[in-house]
């Protein structure tokens, strides 16, 4: 598979993640969209890792760091969702508009 094909797959994944974040009302699905965008970045790292001369370490390190960071981010996001549900009984972003001007 050529480098351009892999980058296009990453771009498509990022676009679909962005569409998910923009158009869905459930907070958990918004989290899924954020995860899709982050893994598209990791895919870019791994794709360049294979096609650039070198020993191929930095791309794997970057992908693993993205993996770890997204795991931590999901933990925080889910605990926020739980507290929100406990207080408001609702995780619909159309209803959570307290900070709206």
């Amino acid at each position: 598979m050529t480098l351009s094909a892999l980058l296009v797959i990453g771009l498509l994944l990022f676009t679909i993640g962005a569409i998910t974040v923009l158009s869905r009302r459930n907070l958990i699905i918004v989290l899924i969209g954020i995860e899709l965008m982050m893994t598209s970045a990791a895919l870019n790292f791994m794709a360049f890792n294979r096609f650039i001369p070198g020993d191929g370490v930095i791309g794997q390190v970057a992908a693993l760091v993205v993996l770890g960071l997204s795991a931590g981010e999901v933990a925080i996001f889910l605990s926020i969702i739980l507290v929100l549900y406990r207080k408001r009984n609702d995780i619909d972003i159309e209803e959570l508009t307290d900070l709206k001007g």
């Binding site: 598979m1 050529t2 351009s4 892999l6 980058l7 296009v8 797959i9 771009l11 498509l12 994944l13 676009t15 679909i16 993640g17 962005a18 569409i19 998910t20 923009l22 158009s23 009302r25 459930n26 958990i28 699905i29 989290l31 899924i32 969209g33 995860e35 899709l36 893994t39 990791a42 791994m46 794709a47 890792n49 294979r50 096609f51 001369p53 020993d55 191929g56 370490v57 794997q60 390190v61 992908a63 693993l64 760091v65 993996l67 770890g68 997204s70 795991a71 931590g72 981010e73 999901v74 933990a75 925080i76 889910l78 605990s79 969702i81 739980l82 507290v83 549900y85 995780i91 619909d92």
Partner: protein, 167 residues
């Protein structure tokens, strides 16, 4: 058209199909399953790109950890599990924005001149170099990542703690 290319194409199709499932299916559980399918396809692509370690970590962390945690959160916040009304205007505009972004960046990818754009032999990149890299050159990012994860765990526990009732 070698067999590896066909299998890599199947995994790539799995990635896109899972992402579309996550974006457009109404039920939360179906979206989480779509995320799992995407991550599995990505693990296959990472395997094709020569890194079985990152592929197995992807499956372990995303499908084994993050998707399960999302299912738990879905079960604990069950009011939105039933399909909510879809806002058609919002979906249409977000798809238009996404398509615009894709059409803007796609020519840049096609026009890029990538030197040394042919891969080496199709073999697994040696894992010992990754381990040594984490201990030698990329040690700071490794330690910083563990500190970030510690902070994330502490923060998650602190946020989701039950409030102390005034006595």
């Amino acid at each position: 058209m070698s067999i590896e290319l066909v299998i890599a194409g199947v995994f790539a199709a799995m990635v896109i199909a899972g992402a579309l499932m996550a974006a457009f299916l109404r039920h939360v559980l179906h979206a989480i399953i779509g995320l799992g399918i995407t991550m599995f396809g990505l693990a296959g692509i990472y395997l094709y790109l020569g890194s079985p370690f990152v592929a197995s970590m992807q499956i372990l962390i995303y499908i084994g950890g993050i998707s399960v945690a999302m299912v738990f959160a879905m079960m604990l916040s069950v009011s939105m599990s039933v399909a909510a009304l879809r806002d058609r205007t919002k979906t249409l505009f977000s798809c238009a924005a996404g398509a615009l972004f894709f059409l803007a960046v796609f020519p840049m990818i096609r026009a890029g001149q990538y030197e040394a754009a042919s891969p080496g032999e199709q073999q697994a990149l040696p894992l010992t170099l990754v381990g040594q890299g984490f201990m030698d050159s990329y040690n700071v990012v490794f330690e910083a990542l563990s500190l970030v994860l510690l902070a994330a765990i502490l923060g998650a526990i602190l946020i989701a703690r039950k409030e102390k009732q005034p006595q």
